[in-house]
């Protein structure tokens, strides 16, 4: 557990470094805001409506498949660490585990959900 102290220090100092940079920049940079400068950039056109528009569901479909496979990865890691000492049985268990999940990928593939357009 004590070895994680380094992680905490790195996280805090990382934030500190960025804030220090912001502060330094804040001290020496010019500040002349005006409404046109602060408008949303849209290649010179006046933006129409807010950008928080509804999104295409395709992004979501891929993210959804990703979540499932991410869980698979987390369960694969402990297996990869010990399967050598546990032999063939452990290997077969994993083949079943991965095999079942591959059906999911196959399903998405066959239904054309892995196509972007």
């Amino acid at each position: 557990m004590s070895e994680f102290a380094a992680i905490a220090v790195f996280l805090v100092l990382g934030v500190g470094f960025v804030l220090f940079n912001f502060l330094l920049s804040n001290l020496i940079r010019p500040k002349n805001p005006n409404p046109i400068k602060q408008s949303t950039y849209e290649c010179g056109e006046t933006p129409v409506g807010p950008a928080w528009i509804q999104f295409n569901v395709r992004f979501y479909i891929f993210c959804l498949i990703f979540v499932i496979f991410d869980v698979e990865i987390v369960f694969l890691f402990p297996w990869a660490l010990v399967f050598q000492s546990l032999g063939l049985f452990a290997f077969v268990e994993m083949v079943i585990f991965v095999g079942i999940l591959m059906f999911g990928l196959l399903y998405a593939w066959k239904k054309g959900l892995l196509r972007w357009y």
Binding site: T40, W52, L114
Partner: protein, 345 residues
């Protein structure tokens, strides 16, 4: 003087003596040592990024038969330093209809996610800040904050280019994270450990490098890592011809610089992980260990740059299809083959 690990041991002992002399306990000694280590790595990272940006411009220039920056310093070597100073004094424009809090924190999250990885990278023999027993998994976990950072940037900017760039980038990064992690699992199956230091320790001889035993795994890692750091041919999030600058469109000044810094840190990180997992890390003859690590890693970075100026950009559908229909099944196959070999032989 080239034995950096001895130097660090000396400095660490000096700090310990100093802190103890001030009448503080062992917790304080560790804390001060860690702070010094983190500050050193921040300095290293900043200097390295300046060098990498310069290298990128020079490499691209020479590939395109130009000369690149030539004015500031010898062969323009101080050009990026000048650019950094310029960025520092640039006006920081915050558009009026952004979500201020999230807009402010997005570059911080992105940078910290990229920087926190450096705590576990073994830069040389004994040159690692902390050797976590979940090292490689920690790297995979902490880098996911990069995705959160770019989603924050994309969403908070209230700009259609930013939003589309951010979400496209997130979809790409998460898609390629799966084959990348599976390629890492291929190596972990052989190493039986997640600790970065132990993984390097197992590859002392040239023929023990895991790239020889995991060639498919290495190729998958290489492609997926290129996509993870949004380099060409996978640089769709920053496809400047369609999305302006992607999720950083509304960022300027130092906030933009932080995204830029994180991008180059990530590039170095994926090359460093590739070196550690597949090319024996800091192992090598004659030269000091940290030099071998830097040579191998910078060679990897050079290949990434070389590819950027050689290949055209993929289309979005090709990009996604490649990750899910080709890389993922291939990575699973690689795991099965590796497992079969280990079990049978």
């Amino acid at each position: 003087m080239l034995e950096l690990d001895k130097l660090i041991g000396f400095v660490g002992a000096q700090i310990a003596a100093l802190v103890t002399a001030l009448g503080l306990g062992p917790d304080w000694v560790t804390l001060v040592q860690l702070v010094v280590a983190a500050l050193t790595l921040i300095g290293f990272a900043s200097v390295m990024v300046l060098g990498l940006v310069y290298a990128e411009r020079k490499v691209s220039a020479h590939i395109q038969m130009r000369v690149g920056p030539m004015r500031v310093g010898w062969h323009g070597i101080l050009q990026t330093l000048a650019d950094a100073v310029k960025l520092l004094q640039k006006e920081d424009i915050t558009p009026s209809n952004v979500d201020r809090a999230i807009y402010f924190w997005a570059p911080i999250v992105t940078f910290v996610a990229a920087f926190a990885v450096y705590a576990v990278i073994p830069f040389g023999r004994g040159l690692v800040v902390t050797d976590l027993n979940i090292g490689i998994l920690y790297i995979l976990a902490i880098t996911t904050f990069g995705v959160i950072g770019l989603l924050m940037a994309g969403w908070s900017s209230n700009n259609k280019y930013s939003l589309l760039g951010g979400f496209r980038s997130a979809a790409q990064v998460v898609s390629y994270e799966v084959p990348m992690a599976l390629a890492v699992i291929g190596v972990v199956m052989l190493t039986q450990t997640l600790s970065m230091v132990q993984i390097v320790g197992q590859q002392e001889k040239f023929y023990q490098w895991y790239v020889w035993r995991q060639p498919i795994g290495f190729l998958i890692y290489f492609v997926a890592a290129t996509a993870e750091v949004n380099r060409t041919p996978f640089d769709l999030p920053e496809a400047d011809s369609e999305l302006v600058a992607g999720f950083v469109t509304e960022y300027s000044g130092m906030k933009f610089a932080m995204f830029f810094l994180a991008e180059f840190l990530n590039m170095f990180t994926v090359a460093a992980i590739g070196t550690t997992l597949f090319f024996g890390g800091w192992n090598g003859p004659v030269l000091p260990s940290w030099m071998w690590f830097l040579i191998k890693t910078l060679a990897g970075v050079f290949v990434l740059m070389w590819m950027r100026w050689t290949y055209p950009r993929l289309r979005v559908d090709q990009l996604m299809g490649f990750a899910w229909k080709f890389l993922l099944p291939l990575a699973i196959l690689n795991i099965l083959i590796t497992g079969l070999f280990v079990v049978l032989f």
